[in-house]
């Protein structure tokens, strides 16, 4: 929504104002001179120019600097205190549209069945998808699970210890199972770039849209992933199968968890025999049109970072998993009742921390690469703001800017 700036002069106001006789004008101290006849209350800030482009390319530096403070005249005028319109404008702008909520919006495709001849074909499509494809896919999935468990359980329990052969078989089985999953949604996945190699001292990072990202990548390479512990059948699979791959668990809600996880990550990358580590630095599922800020944990391990960009084609289904709206089971059902899941995976060039670069800068650089490759827009928000409130330090920074600008003119 576009709103335009406006100005007004005080003279038009005074006609509609009635003075309250209780308040008598007092002599003004020299330090705060109010040029009463010439004072203008500018409403400049009250209208705003909020363009789509601004919201899609916000820069946190822009946001936190003195945008809300106008060019300071030498003296402090009353309007600078009473005119809170810049701050109000920002608040109203945030209510009307904000770049953070956009990242998690499921965009439903335009319905195309609104015509007298399109509607029957859509109905036919529904019948085929729900009546024929879905049961077929469920059967394939069930068979896949049976074969998997029939092979996995004996190997897992009978071959005790860290047998190299055992691990190889388990990896192959998991790859096969992921392949079955992808087949159950008729996944059309195109891989670009060199296949990840099993080398020590490397981590893989990718943008995150849904838990199926892991399945799609796992189909090609036996990654060890770090993920949030889930309840239900997903948790059960995590505990039994994925542990054998060397996966690491974390808990968002535990504060001390971070150090423990950082240590586990480091240990994993040192081990030569471990599966390559896959990390989703966004920390949460985003709707595949935007990327939120990457957490620096993956970038301060002192090893090569290989970016992977994943882009889903929404042509048949939107693969974004809105974990607040749907359980993973419902998400899978939705995928299985669509025609296909189409996506592209790009394996990008391994990156190293440059001299003089901080891990945060490194993370931003890799995010730039992934966003450019997958055609995603960058947003300066931390994904965890989905679950937690922003730190009060950011508000304090704005307060500091305002206070300093007022105080510096007070002394003049």
């Amino acid at each position: 929504m576009r709103l335009i700036k406006e100005n007004l002069t005080l003279s038009s106001l005074s006609l509609s104002c009635s003075h309250d006789s209780r308040f008598h004008p007092r002599p003004l101290p020299r330090s705060v001179a109010l040029a009463l006849p010439r004072a203008r209350l500018t409403m400049a800030g009250l209208g705003a120019s909020i363009t789509e482009a601004d919201l899609d390319h916000p820069n946190i530096e822009e946001y936190l600097t003195a945008e809300s403070i106008k060019e300071a005249p030498k003296r402090l005028h009353l309007r600078d205190l009473i005119d809170i319109s810049p701050t109000l404008k920002e608040a109203a702008g945030a209510i009307v549209d904000d770049s953070f909520t956009r990242c998690f919006k499921s965009n439903f495709p335009e319905p195309w069945n609104w015509n007298i001849y399109l509607f029957p074909s859509w109905c036919l499509g529904v019948v085929i998808r729900y009546g024929i494809l879905f049961p077929l896919r469920v059967v394939i999935l069930a068979l896949g699970w049976i074969v998997f468990f029939a092979a996995f359980l004996p190997v897992h329990f009978l071959l005790a210890g860290h047998n190299k052969w055992k691990r190889k078989v388990e990896r192959k089985l998991v790859e096969m199972m992921c392949g079955v999953f992808v087949a159950s949604w008729t996944g059309v996945v195109k891989y670009h770039g060199p296949r990840p190699s099993m080398r020590p001292q490397q981590v893989f990072v990718a943008n995150h849209t849904s838990m199926i990202d892991f399945i799609i990548l796992e189909q090609m390479t036996p990654f060890a992933v770090i993920m949030q512990k889930h309840p239900g059948w997903v948790g059960f699979i995590q505990k039994t199968i994925l542990e054998s791959l060397g996966c690491i668990w974390f808990n968002r809600t535990e504060a001390k968890d971070r150090e423990v996880v950082a240590r586990k990550l480091r240990e994993h990358t040192q081990g030569a025999d471990n599966n390559p580590l896959l990390i989703f630095p966004e920390g949460t599922c985003v709707n595949n049109q935007y990327t939120v800020m990457f957490k620096k944990g993956a970038f301060e391990l002192g090893c090569a970072v290989c970016p992977i960009a994943i882009k889903y084609n929404k042509i048949f289904v939107d693969a974004f998993w809105n974990s607040k709206k749907q359980s993973f089971t419902m998400h899978l059902v939705r995928l299985m009742t669509s025609w296909a899941v189409v996506c592209d995976v790009w394996y990008l060039e391994p990156q190293y921390l440059r001299r003089g670069e901080t891990p945060i800068e490194f993370a931003e650089r890799v995010r730039d690469m992934i966003a450019a490759r997958a055609g995603l827009k960058k947003v300066p928000w931390d994904g965890y703001l989905k679950y937690f409130r922003p730190s009060p330090k950011l508000t304090e920074k704005k307060q500091q800017i305002f206070a300093e600008s007022v105080l510096e003119r007070l002394d003049k």
């Binding site: 009635s18 007092r26 009250l46 205190l81 319109s85 953070f100």
Partner: protein
């Protein structure tokens, strides 16, 4: 979109528009804007109650960061759609000056007593400056502002 009926009828739109016109004595919100705002309202009202709770407002990080967010929350908490549009209509370029000033006045006069006192100015300044200005400095700034500018509404 929540489970609440996300279909606005023409009657609903006209009702909301009339309400806003009555409040600000000019047609500040167009029908298209009302439809767009309704989509946003449904997006924010996740629990589909028909109003947006304070918690749902605070889930917008940009709003949470705003120094005046707590004051504004008192004004916008629990607003239904009509009041939501009325609140935002003050920010439209077509809104009258009177309406805009009323809006600023209401933010200062948060307890709705019809007057802005020195205490209100101090509180707003406190929200805007936080711990970066001492109480004495704020008093020095506010005290000379005798209320020639703020009027009874």
């Amino acid at each position: 979109m929540g489970n609440a009926s996300s279909m606005l009828t023409q009657y609903d739109i006209e009702e909301v528009q009339e309400h806003c016109n009555y409040l600000c004595e000019s047609s500040a919100v167009s029908q298209q804007e009302i439809v767009a705002l309704y989509e946003r309202f449904c997006q924010l009202d996740r629990s589909a109650n028909g109003f947006i709770s304070a918690d749902e407002f605070l889930s917008i990080p940009e709003f949470s960061l705003n120094p005046l967010s707590q004051r504004l929350l008192k004004m916008v908490d629990g607003l239904n759609f009509t009041d939501f549009v009325a609140f935002l209509s003050a920010f439209s370029p077509k809104a009258s000056i009177q309406h805009k000033i009323e809006s600023i006045f209401r933010v200062h006069d948060i307890d709705g007593k019809g007057r802005v006192t020195l205490k209100d100015l101090l509180e707003v300044l406190r929200d805007l400056t936080g711990s970066f200005m001492s109480e004495e400095q704020r008093k020095v700034l506010c005290t000379p502002c005798s209320f020639n500018f703020f009027c009874h509404f």
